[in-house]
Structures are given as C-alpha cells and as structure tokens.
C-alpha cells in the first residue's frame, strides 16, 4: 500500500497543530483507559449504570434476535438428524419403554411426597419465579462470563437474585437496567456457589473456570470422596441460592476436588426463571437438612 498522503502536514501551522493535538488526545485516551481500568478493577460495579443503559438500549433488538435462536438450532438439529435417525429411533423406543415404567413409579412417589409434605405442613421448596425471560446475549468474546437477560428492574428483577433454567442453575443477577439485566453465569471465574453432593450432602464450593466447566472445591479436606458422575446441587448455605437446584456433574476428579460440567447449558435454554433471594433465616431452614459446615465457613 502506498504511503498515505496526509502524513506530512506541510508548512501550515494549523495542520501541524491539528496533527499534534490528535496524538495528544490519542495518548491521553490510552492514559484514561489505564485509569478507568484501575478504577473498575478495584470496584466491579463502578460503571454499572453506563453498561445497564447500553444494554437497555439494545435489549429490544437483542430480544427479537433471541427469538430466532431456537429456530436456528432446529435447523442444525434437522440436518444432523438425517445421519443419526435409525439408531436414534431404536434408542428412543427403548428409552420410552423404560420411561413409561419410571413415570408410573414417579407418579406414585410424587403422590406420596405430597401426602407426607401435607402431613408436615411444609411449603413447596421452589419459590414462585419473580420473572421469566430469555437470555438475550452473552459476552462471547471476553473471558468473563456474563449474559444479558431480557428482563430488568421494571419486571421486579433485583441484584443478587438467582437465575435458573429447567435444567439447573444458570447464575445470578449482577446489575439491573430498566428492561435488561446482567447475569453472572456460574462458569465465570468470579462466581462461587455453595453446593453439596446430591446423594449424601458432602459440602463444597463450585467456582467457574471460564472455559465452560466448574471447579468443585471440597470444604472438608482429607480423603477425596468424589467420583466421576457425582451430581451436585446448591446447598443454600450463606443465602442467595435456593437449596436443591442442580448445578453440575463431576467429569474428572482432581487432587483436592473435581472438575464438573454444568448441567444447564445457558445456550440451549429457551427461557430462564429469576427467583427471589433465598434467606436462610426463613422458617424452611428448620426442616432443611442438618446445617452443613459450609454455613460455618461463610
């Protein structure tokens, strides 16, 4: 490419000053960036207002685009289906036969459950969601894992509320705008969720690793009891997350814990529910499992 013509401003004083000024602004901009970075690293919520305003402004178009996402996924699923159809049908029929039996059993269990709960005068553990909305975008270029939710303070969404999909925990609300909110996904490096093993309640923390997996860190050190396939659910310790929401399944055991795959892939979920904050001081706690050591740690 040829040298650009406007490199040398010539003898015009005005042109020289203007070139000089543009360099001054450029370096001042870099300096300003460094200052902003220091401020925002020290205080994560420092520029929440700007970001919320920006995501509010783009929320309508993003919501419209999110509607098309499920259609787009269907297209790929259809193409892939041509190659796997035969085996898929065979497997599905086998699973269906099993599922019919399980369904009958589950209905019986659910009935028994309802009866026992009525006996104990217990409320249903799951709260009514504050709002149900789509995830309308995520920071897919950054290493931080945020998603944008298509509902904001106008729909009653408040900072800190847990967000879940039918498959499990998605994250919690970090910043709210009028009609959009920023959600910290559980796979983000800064997200810490108190969890317990679903089978026996071994307490642990699930921290995001930024690459789509979770690091499970056990609270009680010593022999590592985890095995691949162990499912973890939220324990509700420390408040914030409602207990008993599915979080992840262990895929690989490490020295002091395990690596887990989150159960709810936020990319595959159509709608997510925003739940009210979980307060441990609520009367339900009395009937919950015996207090886990996580509460003491927090």
């Amino acid at each position: 490419m040829a040298p650009s013509a406007n490199r040398r401003p010539g003898s015009s004083r005005r042109a020289q000053y203007s070139t000089f000024a543009s360099y001054v602004i450029a370096f001042a901009g870099a300096l300003l960036g460094a200052i902003l970075l220091v401020v925002s690293t020290g205080n994560a919520g420092a520029f929440a207002f700007w970001r919320s305003a920006a995501s509010d402004a783009t929320a309508p178009t993003a919501s419209a685009a999110a509607t098309g996402r499920s259609t787009g996924q269907d297209v790929w699923a259809t193409i892939a289906g041509y190659f796997t159809f035969g085996s898929h049908v065979a497997r599905t029929e086998r699973e269906l036969a099993l599922a019919r039996v399980k369904l009958a059993e589950a209905a019986a269990v659910a009935d028994e459950n309802r009866r026992l709960k009525a006996l104990l005068a217990l409320e249903q553990a799951e709260p009514r969601p504050v709002a149900t909305a789509r995830l309308i975008g995520s920071t897919s270029t950054s290493t931080r894992r945020f998603a944008t939710l298509g509902a904001g303070s106008g729909q009653g969404v408040q900072v800190g509320m847990p967000v879940r999909s039918p498959l499990g925990l998605v994250g919690r609300v970090l910043e709210t705008g009028q009609r959009s909110a920023r959600v910290l996904l559980i796979t983000d490096g800064e997200s810490v969720v108190p969890v317990k093993r679903a089978s026996d309640g071994v307490p642990a923390f699930a921290t995001g690793r930024g690459d789509g997996t979770l690091q499970i860190r056990l609270i009680t050190l010593g022999l590592n009891p985890l095995k691949p396939g162990d499912a973890f659910v939220t324990s509700g310790s420390g408040g914030l997350y409602w207990p008993g929401v599915a979080v992840g399944v262990v895929t690989r055991v490490t020295r002091d814990g395990a690596i887990a795959r989150p159960l709810s892939d936020p990319g595959m979920t159509e709608f997510v529910a925003v739940q009210p904050l979980w307060q441990e001081t609520e009367p339900q706690t009395a009937t919950d499992a015996p207090p886990s050591p996580a509460a003491a740690v927090n």
Partner: protein, 184 residues
C-alpha cells in the same frame, strides 16, 4: 483489494460525471461498522466459554490497514469505550488496548509504508493474539493458567477470521464511496 463482488456492485462504484460520494456516508460508515462489530455480544449466542473473535477490533485493524489515516489516531478512545459497554471486560480495558493498538498501527504505518496482505495478516495476527491475551489478564485470568488453553480456539478463530473481516471492510469501503450525491 480484489474481492468476489457482484459485477453490478462494481459498476455502481465506478466514478461518474456530476456524481460524488456522500461525505456523511464516507466518513460515518467505517465508525458504524466497527461499532456494529462491538455489538456482537448482543447477538443471540450464549456461550459458556469465549468463542467469538473480537469482531469490532478486527474491523478496526482492517480499516487501519486498508485506509491508513481514515481513522484519527485517537479513534481508539471512543471506539474502545463503546466496546467496553458491551464486551463484559472491566471498563477501561478496551479504551487502553484499542488506543495503544491504534497508536501502534499508526507508528507501523510510518515505519513500513509498503506492505502486502500477508504482512498485514501477520501483523494483525500478532496484534489480535496480544490483545486477547492481555484482555484476559485484565479480566482476572491471571490466577487461572487453564484459561489460556481454553482460549486457544478463540485465538485461532480470530486469526482466521481476520481475512474475512478485511474482505467485509473492503466491501463496505466500496459501499461508502458509491457516488450518490449529485454535484452542481
């Protein structure tokens, strides 16, 4: 830059008597394209790991290569600020990195005025990889060595996406210079 453009489009961009490009279009389109690239986090892709190339940054690099001097040296300040609003990075990371990249590319332009596309691609690859890795450090990945491995697909994708971004920028460059304004 040669490109697979349709013949009517090339015909449209041919200079004609009593027609001139609209100055608003010619000046605004580059900024608009870069800002549209920065809006990619609002696309309906919910990713659980960083996957998409930083499109706004790729477009900026491609413009700086294709038309040196079109963007002022301070363009990194407003464009980086806009990118920060959506990217999820801590505020200021984009302002700093985009400013430094623009200043650096301006310096490179004065030092090595004659470059081919391959050279541009190599330069852009180095800048993109540096940008993504430093941005990950700013976002707090320093404590997590695994994250750099998780970023590898994104790095590869960003480097491979650069020629496509450059093609698109070339196309928009033709669009912005379409003589639509009637003169005299």
């Amino acid at each position: 830059m040669p490109g697979p453009f349709a013949e009517p489009l090339l015909d449209l961009t041919r200079p004609r008597i009593n027609r001139a490009p609209s100055s608003v279009l010619a000046l605004a389109l580059p900024w608009v394209l870069v800002m549209l690239g920065s809006l990619s986090p609002t696309w309906p892709i919910i990713a659980s790991a960083p996957v998409l190339p930083p499109l706004g940054f790729l477009f900026l690099l491609a413009w700086l290569h294709l038309r040196p001097g079109l963007f002022p040296v301070w363009a990194g300040l407003p464009l980086g600020l806009f990118d920060d609003l959506f990217s999820g990075q801590p505020m200021g990371s984009g302002v700093l990195l985009w400013s430094v990249a623009t200043i650096g590319m301006d310096y490179l332009e004065t030092r090595f005025p004659w470059r081919g596309f391959i050279t541009n691609w190599l330069v852009a690859s180095a800048v993109i990889v540096g940008y993504l890795v430093i941005a990950a450090q700013f976002a707090g990945a320093a404590s997590n060595g695994m994250l750099l491995i998780a970023m590898a697909p994104q790095l590869a994708m960003a480097v491979l996406a650069y020629p496509i971004a450059a093609q698109l920028v070339g196309l928009v460059d033709r669009l912005r210079l379409i003589p639509v304004r009637e003169v005299g």
